[in-house]
Amino acid sequence: MTDTNGDVRLSGISKTYGSFTAVHPLDLTVPQGSFFALLGASGCGKTTTLRMIAGLEEPTTGTVALGDQDVTALPPYKRPVNTVFQSYALFPHLDVFENVAFGLRRRGIKSVKKQVEEMLELVQLGEQVRKKPHQLSGGQQQRVAVARALINHPKVLLLDEPLGALDLKLRRQMQLELKRIQTEVGITFIHVTHDQEEAMTMADTVAVMNAGRVEQLGSPAELYENPQSTFVANFLGTSNLIEAEVDAKSGDEIIVKAADSKLVLPAARCSAPASAGGKVLVGIRPEKISLTHADDAGSIPEGRNRITGTIADASFIGVSTQYVIDSPVCDEFAVYVQNIERDGRLVPGAEVVLHWSPAHTFGLDANQDIDAGVESVEEEAAA
C-alpha cells in the first residue's frame, strides 16, 4: 500500500433520525493496526457509528477518513472496509467457498481458488468448502463471516457484535481466535459489543459509549482501574460508589468524609473538581476490599481506608465469596473475597470492618446519576 498512514479518522461525525440523535458529534481516531472496541448498551449509538464507517449509514454531519482519503461520500462497495455482520449475513444460496470468494469476484479477480483456500486454512475451515451456511455450526458460520471479510485485505475490519449468537464457551474460544487472527494479519479491527468482558479481553483500546456519546476511552486496565464517570464505573464490572463530602485537600491526597468515616483519595484519581465542602462520589471495586471481623479490627494496618458494617448476605461462588454488606455509608456494599483462608465467622449478621488501600480509590463528579450504567448491564443480561 502506498500510504503508510491507515488511521481511521472520524471528525465531527453525527447521526440524527428525525428528532432522535443516535450519535452526537464525535471525533475519534483509531490508529492503524490496533484492535479497537466500541462498548455500550444496545441503542447507545455504537452500531450506528460502525455503519457510518462502513458506508451503510450516511452521517448527518462530519466526515470519515481512512488515512489521507476522505471516504464520506463513497458507497460501501467502493470503500476499502469490510464488515463481519451481526448474525453473519452469510449468503444462504452460496456455499462456503463462494461466500468467501464473493468480494474477490466482484472486484473482477478471476483466479480466486488459492486465496480462498489459504483464507479458509487461516480460519480452520479447510474441510467445509462445499457446505452451505445452514449446514455449519454457529462458530463455523462466524469463521466464514470473518474469512469472507478478511480475504479482501481491507484497511479496516468492522465487527458488529460478531460473537453475540454464540454460547458462552464458544464465545471465549472465538475471542482468543479473533485476537490471534488480528495479530497475524495486522489489520485494524473495530469491534462493536455490549459485552464488557469481550471488549476487555480482545481490544487494545476501548471506547465506552452511552446515549450517543463516548463516555471514556482508554486501555481496558485504565478504564477499569480509573473510571471517570458513574456510567463507566458501573457498566464495566461492579463499583461501590459512596456519596462523600470533601473535608480537606493535602498535597496529592484528598480527605473526604462519608457518614463517620474518613477516607483518603489520591488527587490524581479524582476526575471531579474537589474543593473543601464540595461533594464527590468515592468509588472502590469490590475485589480491592478486605474484610475483617470486628473483633480483629485492631490488626488492620494503619493508613487504610475503613468502613464498618454488617454482613447482609454471602454467596459462595467457587473462586471467591461475594458479600453484601450493610454499612452507614452505602446500603449494599459489594465485597469479593478470594477463597484462600476463609474466616468462619464471616456469616450474615456478623459485624465487620471493610478496609482497602487508598491507592485503589477513585473519585467521580457527584453531579451525575449514581446508578448510571447499572440498568444497562441488567438489560443486556436479560436479553
Binding site: 440524527t16 464525535l26 448527518t60 483500546t205 476511552l217
Partner: protein, 309 residues
C-alpha cells in the same frame, strides 16, 4: 495516539437538512410501480368508472347508449332481481359456513396430526386445482345423478325427505336443487378456506397445547381458548376468500342448478352476454360490488384483522 473529544457543538446554524440519499434515486420506487399500477388503473379501476357510467345510460343496441343519469335502472334491477341477490348472499353464506366446518378439521389435521404425511396431504389439497374446475364441477353431475348411489343412499336414509321438507331438494332429485348448488360452491371454494386456515394453524407453537393441558384445560377447552383464537387470522381470510368469489359465481348455479336457483352472477352474465341489456347488467354488477365492499369492510372491522394484505 488515540484521542476522543466531543466535537464543538455546531454553530447556531439551523439543524442541517439530512442529506438526500445519494445512492438511491428517489424516483426508483415510482418507476418500479409505474407499469403494474398503470395496468391496474387502466384495466381494473377505469372499468369500474365505465361500468358506473354504463349503468346510468339509456338507449338500445341499434341506436347506441347515452349517459342520461337514468338511476331508475338501479331501482328496476333491484325490484326485479332481488330474489337472485338474496339467493347469492344465502348460498354463498351457507357455503362459507360449510367450508369452515369441513375445512377446519382438515387444516388442523395437516398442521398438527399429519406428521410425515403433511406434504402429501397438502399436495392432495392443491393438486385438484390443475384439473379445470369446470370439469370437476361437471363430475358432480355424475356423483349426484338421479338414481345414482349417493341419491339412493340419501333416499333410503330418509335424508331426502327432510331436505325436501326444508325445500332444498325436490322429491327424489338432488341435481337442479339448491342443495346441489351449495354442495358445488362448497366443493369449489373449500381449498381457499383450508390453505389460509392451515397457514395460521401451522404458526401456532405446539407447546401451547401442552401448556394449556398442563394448566388443566381439557382438549376441547384448549381448542376453544387457545387454538381457535390464534387461528382467527386464517378464519377471517378464509371466509373472505370463500364468500367473495362464491357470491359472484354463476358456474355452479348454471351447471348444477335450475332456473329456480339462479344467482346474481347468472343474471349479470345473461344480461351482458345474451340479452345485451348493458345498463341493467352494469347496475346489477355495481350493486353487487358495493354490497360486497360494505360487507367485507364491516366484517374486517368487526373481526379486528385489518392487516390481511
Amino acid at each position: 495516539m488515540t484521542t476522543v473529544t466531543e466535537a464543538p457543538p455546531l454553530a447556531p446554524t439551523p439543524v442541517e437538512e439530512p442529506r438526500r440519499p445519494r445512492r438511491r434515486g428517489r424516483l426508483v420506487p415510482y418507476w418500479l410501480l409505474l407499469p403494474g399500477i398503470l395496468w391496474l388503473l387502466v384495466f381494473f379501476a377505469l372499468p369500474m368508472v365505465y361500468q358506473a357510467s354504463t349503468s346510468v345510460q339509456t338507449g338500445s343496441l341499434e341506436e347506441g347508449y347515452k349517459v342520461t343519469w337514468h338511476f331508475a335502472t338501479y331501482w328496476d334491477a333491484l325490484s326485479e332481481y332481488w330474489p337472485q341477490f338474496l339467493r347469492s348472499v344465502l348460498y354463498a353464506g351457507v357455503a362459507t359456513v360449510l367450508c369452515l366446518l369441513l375445512g377446519y378439521p382438515l387444516a388442523y389435521l395437516i398442521a398438527f396430526r399429519a406428521g410425515r404425511w403433511r406434504n402429501v396431504i397438502l399436495v392432495l389439497v392443491i393438486a385438484p386445482f390443475f384439473t379445470s374446475f369446470l370439469i370437476r364441477t361437471l363430475a358432480w353431475k355424475t356423483i349426484l345423478a338421479d338414481g345414482g348411489p349417493v341419491v339412493g343412499a340419501l333416499s333410503s336414509l330418509h335424508v331426502l325427505d327432510v331436505t325436501s321438507w326444508l325445500g332444498i331438494t325436490a322429491g327424489e332429485r338432488v341435481l337442479a336443487t339448491p342443495l346441489a348448488v351449495v354442495c358445488g360452491l362448497t366443493y369449489n371454494f373449500l381449498p381457499f378456506m383450508i390453505l389460509p386456515l392451515y397457514t395460521s394453524l401451522e404458526r401456532i407453537d405446539g407447546r401451547l397445547h401442552e401448556a394449556a393441558g398442563d394448566l388443566y384445560a381439557k382438549p376441547f377447552t384448549t381448542f376453544r381458548k387457545v387454538t381457535f383464537p390464534l387461528s382467527m387470522p386464517g378464519v377471517v381470510s378464509g371466509t373472505l376468500l370463500t364468500f367473495i368469489p362464491a357470491s359472484g359465481d354463476y358456474v355452479n348455479a348454471d351447471l348444477l342448478g335450475s332456473t329456480d336457483t339462479r344467482m346474481v352472477g347468472n343474471v349479470i352474465q345473461t344480461q351482458f352476454l345474451r340479452i345485451l341489456d348493458y345498463p341493467t347488467a352494469a347496475a346489477l354488477s355495481f350493486i353487487l360490488m358495493a354490497a360486497i365492499l360494505v360487507m367485507v369492510t364491516l366484517y374486517i372491522r368487526k373481526s379486528g384483522t385489518e392487516d390481511l394484505v
